[in-house]
């Protein structure tokens, strides 16, 4: 794909002048004439144009007259040139455009009343605008409808061959799942090879289709666009924080549409660096959990052996009574809490306030503990900022991106689209280092496959290679020669050959990666679940910081070490202080100044400094009987953590387990009281996405049944426990946060942060760096267990919540099969569906297998969303000594045919 000079930050395009309707306009050379005209505010109709990709020029609507030419020209495919004299209005042009509409309409079925796009159709608008009332020779196509795909129907009778769907799929998303095919005398859009559609199912083709040729199976024939209420909110599936329009009718969610649409087709191509406005499969088709029949509609109390439905008052009385009794008898530290990062910032803030001022304990944690806190702690330790320093724009405009330990397309599909744009438009060099053959690896310029669990070693190798090749930035390290010497000494024992032998990445590859990273003007490292959710995550992130530091990238604009978050508000959970070590605003819990400030604001004495417990510690204390009551909001530790954590035993010992969740989860089934909570579609609030942008969540429909927003339940609980809280809406909580953390709600723009690396490098860096690069303890367990069993996210699911959405289950059901490389299957002589016995240190399991090309040889994969069969119970847990992050996503196994 060629890049238009106007949008490339590295190319200065020549400014030219041309005349449009008698006015002189300045533009950049080589830009599409249509873009120049639309930048002056004039809208010329165009059906095949969208600013996110290059003009295609098939609809014939954007006609303009150029002086010196007899016939009108198509402005989208014409390039702006100096001295052009253009006329965009006039009766001749109107008639010419009307002819084009008539041409499209003559082969378009006039089935508007039964078409889903009725009222949201560009062809309809154009016919109306141009007053088309008669068609001379209309004919019908009679093409059968393609209903083979699980989510989209293709009715090619209605297609106007504008190719927007093909262009967006190929150029913007780089999926390339659609093509034109001449069939039955007409050019039709068909899935590649005219097979059933099998792609990422992001549905962006549906969003850009200006007519009703591509229709959504979920809302097909249900409602017309004007019948639905449209609420702009933030997606609740991953940390990308995509904006989406939830379209509802009364108490029913009908469909989800994206800001990317044929309706917003005018824009600056450079703006797509901030996001192209599309959604992924989870956002667009995973909305059905909101009004699912499985939602909890009434509070439940355990009576005898059963959970029975009771009114709110009774449930709350019981919960409050038991909480106060346990606190009276055993002190505040007999109570603990867990909350999910799918709650809004306001609720997370309220949760830690409830725990600290209501229950007076510091024993609580959020699901950011499953990995994101590794990054936050490392980044705070090194740079003093607890979040990713770069936003999507930096990522798109980077010249070199090192993607290490991240299956980005599956975990954060829209961040992956940013990297795809960096690859395609800005010609970035993308290095992908992963132990699976990921989608990004297939697109990247430098894909490297490594053995599972050797990400840390690879970073050692990269640091060493950088030093060996002399790619260091003299100016930066000159400021801290002592620290540099210490680093040099620490990596002295690392040999590239050894690293290459252990990781499977060649010495040449290590050197190339180091060179690409060091030499590019804007280079970004993105590490995700392969680093932060694995053992030594904290140290590995610090090693990446070292790499960025010695190459002089730390603190440079457009450079940095980043991570992505799995749940929508993991960053918010950390920022709101939902961790025993943090107060809101990421102030340390032991910092006396911050403690005084919050104690004064909340008018309480905070729990003692140094007290508190994180997730792993809480479960340990539950098991030992120290914690007697647990308040769980939206978390499901029983289904998340492997059996070796003995969560069931820990929860069994509790005197009171209160679970507040929209669904009856495994943990909720063990609870003494279950309080029905709302999903994010039924409440107001904000999420903080992975860039640090605070995004609004809006109430799209009334709470289902008698469920209530989490903040409402927490306020009621706190007031019953003796607090004087007067929150009447989430806005009241927001006002309090605004007072305590000025500038946090920064109008949706991430605060620009300036990393300060000097304090870290001059204090104690030399002491700790040696331990970081110590040679890994050689374990002979590897020999016995030749396969790496990995658990992770798949594109179509997020956590356990998405399994409640029937649409996503239809696209990606739990096959109950272990995914293996076809080569390995051949070696083991098992065919698809054949059973194997999987044995790890923790146990053994019989499971069927299925081939998967994206799984590397010598590894096998099982999606973490499903517990049937309980593959997760084969995992052992390593707890990071610094951050307390439990990692349990990888283990060595033996596989034999059963």
């Amino acid at each position: 794909m060629g890049l238009k000079p106007a949008t490339n930050p590295d190319v200065e395009a020549v400014a030219i002048e041309l005349s449009i309707d008698g006015k002189t306009v300045t533009a950049k050379d080589g830009v599409s004439l249509y873009d120049v005209i639309s930048s002056t505010g004039k809208i010329i109709p165009a059906m095949c144009y969208h600013y996110t990709f290059d003009p295609f020029g098939s609809c014939g609507m954007c006609l303009v007259m150029q002086e010196g030419k007899k016939a009108p020209i198509r402005s989208c495919t014409a390039k702006a040139a100096a001295g052009m004299v253009i006329r965009t209005e006039g009766d001749d042009l109107f008639q010419a455009r009307k002819k084009a509409v008539e041409k499209h309409l003559s082969v378009h079925p006039l089935d508007c009343p039964v078409c889903d796009a009725d009222g949201h159709c560009e062809l309809q608008d154009m016919a109306f605008q141009h007053g088309v009332t008669n068609l001379a020779n209309a004919k019908q196509k009679f093409i059968p409808e393609d209903t083979r795909s699980p989510v989209l129907d293709f009715n090619m009778n209605r297609c106007i061959a504008c190719a927007e769907c093909i262009n967006v799929c190929k150029d913007v998303l780089m999926i390339d799942a659609l093509q034109f095919m001449k069939k039955g005398g007409f050019n039709q859009v068909v899935p590649k090879g005219d097979l059933a559609l099998s792609c990422e199912f992001c549905g962006d083709c549906l969003a850009v289709c200006p007519v009703g040729a591509i229709t959504n199976k979920f809302s097909k024939y249900l409602y017309k666009p004007w019948q639905m209420k449209k609420t702009t909110t933030t997606c609740n599936y991953c940390g990308d924080g995509c904006q989406m329009h939830l379209e509802t009718k009364d108490a029913e969610v009908v469909r989800v549409t994206s800001p990317l649409s044929w309706k917003n087709k005018w824009g600056d191509r450079a703006d797509t660096a901030k996001g192209h406005g599309g959604l992924c499969v989870r956002g667009r088709f995973g909305f059905e959990y909101i009004d699912s029949a499985a939602r909890l509609k009434q509070p439940l109390l355990r009576k005898g052996n059963q959970l029975v439905e009771v009114p709110w008052l009774e449930a709350m009385h019981q919960v409050v009574e038991q909480f106060s009794e346990i606190r009276r008898k055993h002190g505040p530290d007999s109570i603990a809490g867990l909350i999910t990062a799918r709650c809004t910032n306001e609720e997370l803030y309220l949760f830690q306030k409830l725990m600290r001022t209501g229950f007076r304990t510091n024993q609580f944690d959020s699901s950011a503990r499953y990995g994101h806190l590794n990054f936050v702690h490392a980044s705070r330790h090194a740079l003093g900022i607890g979040r990713s320093p770069n936003d999507w724009e930096d990522l798109t405009r980077a010249k070199a991106i090192v993607l290490i330990g991240s299956n980005l397309t599956e975990t954060n599909p829209l961040t992956a689209v940013r990297i795809k744009e960096a690859l395609r438009v800005y010609q970035a060099q993308v290095v992908v280092i992963d132990s699976a053959i990921t989608n990004m690896a297939k697109l990247a310029s430098h894909p490297y496959l490594i053995s599972p669990g050797t990400e840390g070693l690879v970073i050692d190798g990269l640091v060493k290679a950088t030093l060996e090749l002399g790619l260091i930035d003299e100016e930066t390290i000159g400021k801290h020669p002592k620290a540099f010497e210490a680093l040099k000494a620490a990596v002295a024992h690392v040999s590239l050959e050894q690293v290459a032998a252990k990781t499977g990445m060649s010495v040449e590859a290590l050197k190339t990666t180091a060179a690409i990273f060091a030499e590019a003007p804007r280079s970004i490292i993105l590490c995700a679940e392969g680093i932060v959710r694995q053992s030594d995550g904290y140290q590995n992130v610090l090693k990446l910081m070292d790499l960025a530091w010695i190459t002089g990238k730390l603190g440079q604009p457009g450079c940095g070490v980043n991570t992505v978050t799995e749940e929508p508000n993991e960053q918010g959970a950390v920022d709101m202080g939902v961790a025993p070590e943090f107060l809101p605003g990421q102030a340390s819990f032991n910092d006396q100044v911050a403690r005084d400030r919050f104690a004064k604001a909340w008018d309480v004495t905070l729990p003692a400094a140094g007290s508190g417990a994180n997730l792993v510690e809480i479960l340990k204390r539950c098991k030992s009987g120290q914690i007697r009551a647990l308040y769980v909001i939206g978390e499901n530790p029983l289904a998340t953590l492997p059996a070796s954590m003995e969560v069931r035993a820990a929860l069994d010992r509790l005197e009171l387990l209160v679970v507040q969740d929209p669904f009856l989860t495994e943990t909720a089934r063990m609870a003494h009281a279950v309080l029905p909570a709302c999903t994010s579609a039924e409440k107001d609030g904000t999420f903080t996405n992975l860039e640090g942008r605070v995004l609004r969540v809006r109430e799209a429909l009334d709470p289902v049944g008698e469920s209530l927003p989490d903040w409402h339940i927490m306020t009621a609980l706190a007031n019953a426990l003796g607090c004087q809280w007067e929150y009447e809406s989430s806005n009241d909580i927001q006002a309090e946060i605004m007072k305590l953390l000025p500038g946090y709600y920064n109008l949706g723009q991430p605060r620009k942060v300036v990393p300060t690396v000097d304090r870290y490098l001059s204090n104690g860096y030399a002491g700790e760096v040696a331990a970081r690069y110590r040679a890994p303890v050689a374990s002979d367990a590897k020999v016995q267990r030749p396969y790496g069993l990995l658990m992770g996210q798949i594109l179509y699911h997020s956590g356990k919540m998405s399994t409640e959405a029937p649409g996503l289950i239809k696209i990606a059901p739990n096959t109950g099969r272990l995914r293996m490389n076809p080569e390995d299957m051949k070696r083991l002589a098992v065919s698809e569906g054949g059973k194997v016995r999987l044995t790890s240190d923790r146990g053994s399991l019989q499971v069927a297998v299925q081939p998967d090309q994206s799984v590397a040889p010598q590894t096998c994969f099982f999606p973490e969303h499903f517990n049937e069969p309980p593959v997760k119970d084969l995992m052992s847990v390593q707890v990071d000594p610094t951050t307390g992050v439990p990692s349990f996503k990888r283990i060595g196994v033996t596989i034999e045919k059963a």
């Binding site: 089935d111 508007c112 009343p113 039964v114 009725d118 009679f142 093409i143 059968p144 409808e145 393609d146 209903t147 083979r148 009715n155 009778n157 069939k183 090879g193 005219d194 097979l195 059933a196 097909k220 024939y221 249900l222 409602y223 017309k224 004007w226 019948q227």
Partner: protein, 195 residues
């Protein structure tokens, strides 16, 4: 002049002229055919354009005409129509109204919905007797509307004719939608490298 007036007045007084004059109307009505209808024993003949109860119609082959396009709901000024449409389970890819409600207590009988209907599924009939003990029965559902349509089919057709919407059976077929069939099987064999 004055004498003639005087004589006339005396004559009128002597012959009770005013009374006879007044009684003229009474006598006229005595021999006149009465205008009052003995409703409900007698029924008035209504013009074809009369806007009475709404009805849903079927085609000759008993298929429902309505495709659930919701245009009647959009056109309704008193917002008394509610349409819920979906795909017909028995006939895949066919859109139909799974539910159709008209709150006749809110209806202003303007006839816009009939005009808006692209398939002439809605028509007005000469039925205007809605009296009931239970107001809830005045929320006409789909079943009731089709019943009215069957009972007053001729009236409905005459209404459409009188309003220049549809003249005969042939014309109704012109508006009818024929939905495409679906492809469920691959149209080509799978390429070798995927096999």
């Amino acid at each position: 002049m004055r004498v003639t007036v005087l004589i006339r007045n005396i004559l009128h007084a002597a012959l009770f002229y005013e009374i006879w004059d007044a009684m003229k109307v009474t006598f006229k009505h005595m021999f006149h055919k009465p205008i009052t209808f003995q409703y409900p024993r007698e029924q008035r003949v209504l013009p074809d354009t009369h806007r009475g109860a709404l009805a849903l119609l079927r085609y000759d082959d008993h298929q429902e005409r309505c495709v659930g396009c919701d245009l009647c709901e959009a056109a309704c000024p008193s917002r008394c129509i509610k349409v819920i449409s979906s795909e017909d389970a028995a006939r895949p890819l066919q859109r139909f109204a799974s539910e159709f409600y008209i709150d006749i207590t809110k209806c202003v009988f303007c006839g816009y919905c009939v005009e808006a209907c692209p398939v002439n599924a809605l028509a007005m009939t000469k039925m205007y007797e809605f009296s009931t003990h239970d107001k809830r029965t005045l929320l006409f559902d789909k079943k009731r509307l089709y019943e009215i349509g069957e009972r007053h089919l001729d009236d409905a057709k005459k209404y459409l004719y009188a309003h220049n919407q549809e003249q005969n059976v042939e014309e109704s077929r012109e508006y009818r939608y024929y939905f495409p069939q679906s492809v469920l099987k691959p149209t080509q064999s799978q390429p070798k490298h995927l096999g």
